[in-house]
């Protein structure tokens, strides 16, 4: 039984390594997600961010620009989610002093 488990794990590792050999190289400008047109002929929306992120905000880190500027309302929602999680712990975990006495 133990040999079967190890065999399955090795098999899955082999599948993953084989699949990762087909991934595109990181940072290659000829990659499909960096192209202006996709295979089906439609324009790629992310191309705008790659071309204009530095010109719009003078910030070299493209991820920060997308997170803080183009998608800032989404980031605001994330912050509110974390804030709500903190408030829930305040409600659930904090013991009231009246009950203690």
């Amino acid at each position: 039984m133990k040999a079967l488990k190890i065999l399955i794990l090795v098999l899955f590792a082999g599948i993953l390594i084989y699949a990762s050999s087909d991934l595109p190289f990181r940072g290659d400008p000829d990659n499909l997600m960096h192209a202006e047109e996709s295979i089906t002929g439609t324009t790629v929306k992310g191309n705008y961010f790659i071309q204009n992120a530095y010109r719009d905000t003078r910030t070299p880190n493209m991820v920060t620009v997308v997170l803080g500027d183009y998608r800032s309302i989404d980031t605001f929602g994330e912050q509110v989610v974390i804030y709500t999680a903190g408030l829930i712990t305040l409600l659930v975990l904090r013991r009231s002093r009246r009950r203690g006495k």
Partner: protein, 146 residues
């Protein structure tokens, strides 16, 4: 139970590490424009530096650093910084969270966006730090050993 966990070596190590982790947290927040990082990651690092003292020294010692009642207002201030930035931009004639419309005189629109991103990253960092510390404080309330 009181003296069971108290160790001067652990406390000294935590006191040595905590300020450097806090400086590195602020570096990750402020330098997020140029390197990997940003508000969430830097806020987690700031919370780590505070929680290290809380775990090693107990709540009596941690009160010297940041008191327990101060965490909830800090979280609110962090959220309000973000929301007020968007609201000020909207009141000055732009869209919500459109940093180009921020009323700072003498700054080009692209550098206004740079400043706006920096402001909201600081807000996110404050909120994440305060909320992580708040969760820890609520969990150990009454069961603290020091």
């Amino acid at each position: 139970m009181r003296d069971q966990f108290q160790s001067p070596i652990v406390l000294l190590g935590a006191r040595l590490l905590s300020p450097y982790i806090m400086v590195f947290g602020w570096y990750v927040i402020i330098h997020g424009h140029y390197s990997p990082g940003g508000g969430f990651q830097g806020g987690a690092l700031l919370a780590a530096s505070l929680l290290l003292i809380r775990v090693a020294g107990g709540s009596k010692l941690a009160e010297l650093q940041i008191q327990e009642f101060a965490t909830t207002p800090l979280a609110v201030i962090g959220v309000v910084i973000y929301f007020a930035t968007g609201l000020v931009a909207m009141a000055a004639g732009g869209y919500f969270l459109d940093y180009e419309a921020l009323p700072i005189p003498g700054v080009e629109p692209d550098w206004l966006r740079y400043i706006g991103i920096l402001i909201i990253e600081v807000g996110i960092g404050l909120a994440v730090m305060a909320i992580l510390v708040m969760i820890y404080d609520n969990m150990v309330r009454g069961e603290d050993y020091a």
